[in-house]
């Protein structure tokens, strides 16, 4: 233990404020902190705006900071967030994939048609293997299309911009042919749960709390393990107060989100149907339209404040997105594959001279991207309970925007998975905030475009100052 934290207290460090000391001690990514701040500002702004122009029961008097809206926001973000995690690696490796939107449409239509036209009649509608076959087929199709993109880029040496621009156009055509211009619906009953469709598409409050607490335990274990590892090799340790604060903030955020999703009740109609199906008696009470529970007012079912109520908890697509985020972070930071992707983005020649097969690496990255598009295709079509050719439209732009807002450099070599997922959440917040306030979609597009440019500008200012 030659180097300890106490030894290098220079006067400059003593002078820096409490926040500066906190940031240094916890080694938090300040950029991520900035994004979180921007996100909370946007949320608060929408809710405050609502207070004056469209009041609701949100935290600040609008309609944005309500459990219902935040729950929906998370579900809406999940599809783009999943693809953004893959796009980070693609862009870090100095490539681009413009085809993800059209590929999503193609996969959604293909596995929609598979379950509705083929598997349904063949195995009988509702057969429990239908959703599994559809999911496997979707992921496999994504992998094949991704591998093709990668092979054309790496081996045929066509720039990925061109390969995937061609893909953007061609797969849109293919999807149209596959769908023969009609909406394919309905999807399998189990399949739709993947999209969070219906009350069974969420895991309920009990399991949500279990997962939330497990996540907290994970955070604590992670911090302890990191400390142990640093101790073992005699690296400088973070001060204990910093570790504790970090763990506390992380856990508080996890539990806060859990509390929010657990506060979003089922729709009254859904509760009524569920009560009927399961022979649950609805307690008596008086009508109160502001409540979300159900009561029996005489022989009439009415809304009331305290009566029969069920809450959603985490929606399945949100959990899928979180798991994808964790797996992708693991791949990016803890495996050789991820190390090579980042190194190749920093200096392709260095990777080549180190004896790494960078062509194979390119194919792998695009294949992974394709599989993630498959995941998103499943989530989107399940959430809609239908496959249409409008699914996935312009998604490539939102995915790339999310990744760039999340701090990934288009020059390659730099980018984080969590940044991209936060970027997706930020973009979705803007969009749903504006539609909540009945902004015209034309204005929404303008705002999103301006925010994209602004985010990149701020990022560059930040990086220049960080140097």
């Amino acid at each position: 233990m030659s180097a300890t934290t106490g030894g290098s207290q220079s006067p400059a460090m003593m002078e820096e404020g409490l926040i500066g000391r906190f940031l240094r001690a916890t080694e938090i990514d300040t950029r991520m902190l900035g994004m979180l701040a921007a996100l909370f500002l946007i949320w608060a702004g929408f809710d405050l705006y609502g207070l004056f122009f469209k009041p609701g029961d949100g935290l600040l008097g609008g309609q944005f900071l309500t459990p219902r809206n935040l729950w929906t926001l998370l579900v809406q973000t999940s599809s783009i967030a999943v693809m953004a995690t893959g796009m980070v690696l693609v862009i870090v490796m100095r490539q681009i994939d413009l085809s993800v939107g059209s590929v999503l449409t193609t996969i959604a239509v293909a596995i929609g048609a598979l379950q509705v036209y083929k598997l349904g009649p063949l195995l009988g509608v509702g057969n429990p293997s239908i959703w599994i076959i559809a999911v496997v087929a979707g992921l496999a199709l994504g992998a094949i299309i991704g591998a093709l993109n990668g092979a054309l880029t790496a081996y045929a040496q066509i720039p990925s911009f061109i390969v995937t621009l061609g893909g953007l156009i061609a797969y849109r055509g293919l999807a149209f042919l596959l769908a023969s211009g009609v909406t394919i619906a309905p999807m399998d009953n189990t399949y739709v749960l993947i999209g969070g469709y219906g009350p069974a598409g969420s895991i309920g409050p009990v399991w949500s709390w279990v997962l939330g607490l497990l996540a907290c335990a994970g955070i604590v274990l992670g911090i302890l393990r990191g400390r142990q590892q640093r101790k073992k090799f005699g690296f400088p340790l973070r001060p204990v107060w910093a570790e504790v604060t970090l763990g506390a903030i992380g856990s508080a955020m996890v539990l806060g989100i859990t509390a929010v999703v657990n506060a979003y009740p089922w729709a009254p109609k859904v509760i009524e149907n569920y009560a009927k199906e399961h022979n649950i008696t609805i307690p008596p009470g008086t009508l109160d339209a502001s409540g979300s529970a159900l009561c029996m007012d005489g022989d009439k079912v009415v809304r009331c404040v305290s009566g029969l109520i069920f809450y959603n908890g985490f929606a399945i697509p949100v959990l899928i997105a979180i798991v994808v985020g964790l797996v992708m972070t693991f791949l990016a930071t803890r495996t050789r594959f991820g190390r090579y992707v980042y190194a190749a983005g920093g200096n392709p020649e260095a990777v080549e001279l180190a004896g790494i097969n960078s062509r194979k690496l390119t194919v792998l990255v695009f294949t992974l991207m394709g599989v993630l598009v498959g995941v998103s295709a499943i989530i989107s079509s399940a959430r809609l309970n239908a496959a249409t050719i409008s699914l996935g439209q312009s998604n490539e732009l939102y995915v790339i925007a999310a990744v760039v807002i999340g701090g990934t450099s288009l020059a390659g070599g730099i980018g984080t998975i969590y940044g991209a997922m936060l970027g997706a959440l930020l973009m979705q917040s803007l969009q749903s905030g504006m539609s909540l306030l009945n902004f015209d979609s034309a204005y929404q597009d303008i705002v999103v475009g301006v925010v994209l440019a602004l985010a990149v500008y701020l990022d560059q200012v930040y990086r220049r100052r960080a140097k």
Partner: protein
């Protein structure tokens, strides 16, 4: 010319050479970058490769390090023919290279660069960053004791520090043959002297070194023999004890092979008459 003829150093040349590149040719789109070139290197020997920019020395050496695949010729290690078709093959044979460009991934830290392509892994198969950083601290401690910036991407490091990382990567994996392409180009006088010391130390350990440079003084100080190339061809090879600076300059500029040198195919035809 104070040290035109230096004290001969002992290099055992009785056995087969450590490396022998025989009759190597490579062409890029009709241009013969290397044209029937032959060089050899014995254990514990430093051979300087000299020549103008574009003389073919870097290309020849990239064939040895596996970055290029030759069109023609043989590579022998300890007298046995070997096949080198990519950098991985070369590394497996104990050939390590310090490239002129350093070939560092600027966006990752020094430990990640040190182990690029040869990462240490935990029993779970994941990257063992802590172990790699720990090893990196040891190696860098030997090469550059003042180095502390282990957590920063190498982009943030000074030229000398980056060079140290590249050198550390080449010597950390028990190289038998070391190729140094302009190893001191980015360095100050003190760091250059350090590299010189390092070369002497590695030489003493029996490692063979190809030293590519266009600084003839550097090469004269460190090399046992020089091979001069011009227009992709070898002008000649000489022990540094048998020739002086002017003669070597004559080889580089005019392709004139002095009497103390063994002429190659690139030597001026009238060289013997002129001498």
């Amino acid at each position: 010319m104070t040290h035109a003829h230096k004290q001969p150093t002992k290099v055992e040349r009785s056995g087969p050479p450590l490396i022998e590149m025989k009759d190597i040719s490579i062409a890029f789109g009709g241009i013969k970058a290397v044209d029937h070139a032959s060089v050899d290197l014995y254990p514990g020997e430093v051979v300087g490769l000299l020549g103008h920019n574009g003389a073919g020395k870097s290309t020849l050496i990239k064939i040895l390090s596996g970055a290029y695949t030759r069109d023609h010729g043989d590579i022998l290690i300890n007298g046995e023919k070997v096949e080198i078709s990519n950098p991985r093959d070369a590394k497996a044979l104990g050939i390590e290279t310090i490239y002129q460009t350093l070939a560092l991934a600027d966006n990752v830290d020094s430990a990640a660069n040190l182990y690029l392509g040869r990462e240490l892994r935990t029993s779970w198969g994941t990257l063992d960053d802590a172990a790699m950083e720990s090893e990196c601290r040891k190696v860098m401690g030997r090469l550059n004791p003042n180095f502390r910036r282990f957590k920063e991407p190498v982009r943030a490091l000074s030229g000398g520090q980056r060079q140290s990382v590249a050198i550390a990567r080449a010597i950390h994996f028990n190289a038998r043959i070391l190729i140094m392409d302009e190893p001191t180009a980015a360095l100050g006088p003190q760091e250059t002297a350090q590299v010189g010391e390092l070369i002497k130390q590695l030489k003493a350990e029996g490692i063979g070194i190809f030293l590519i440079s266009h600084d003839i003084h550097d090469v004269f100080d460190l090399a046992d023999r020089v091979t001069v190339m011009k227009n992709g061809r070898v002008v000649g090879t000489a022990r540094t004890t048998d020739v002086d600076h002017d003669e070597v300059l004559g080889m580089i500029i005019a392709g004139k092979c002095p009497p103390g040198a063994v002429p190659g195919p690139g030597a001026l035809q009238s060289a013997s008459a002129a001498a």
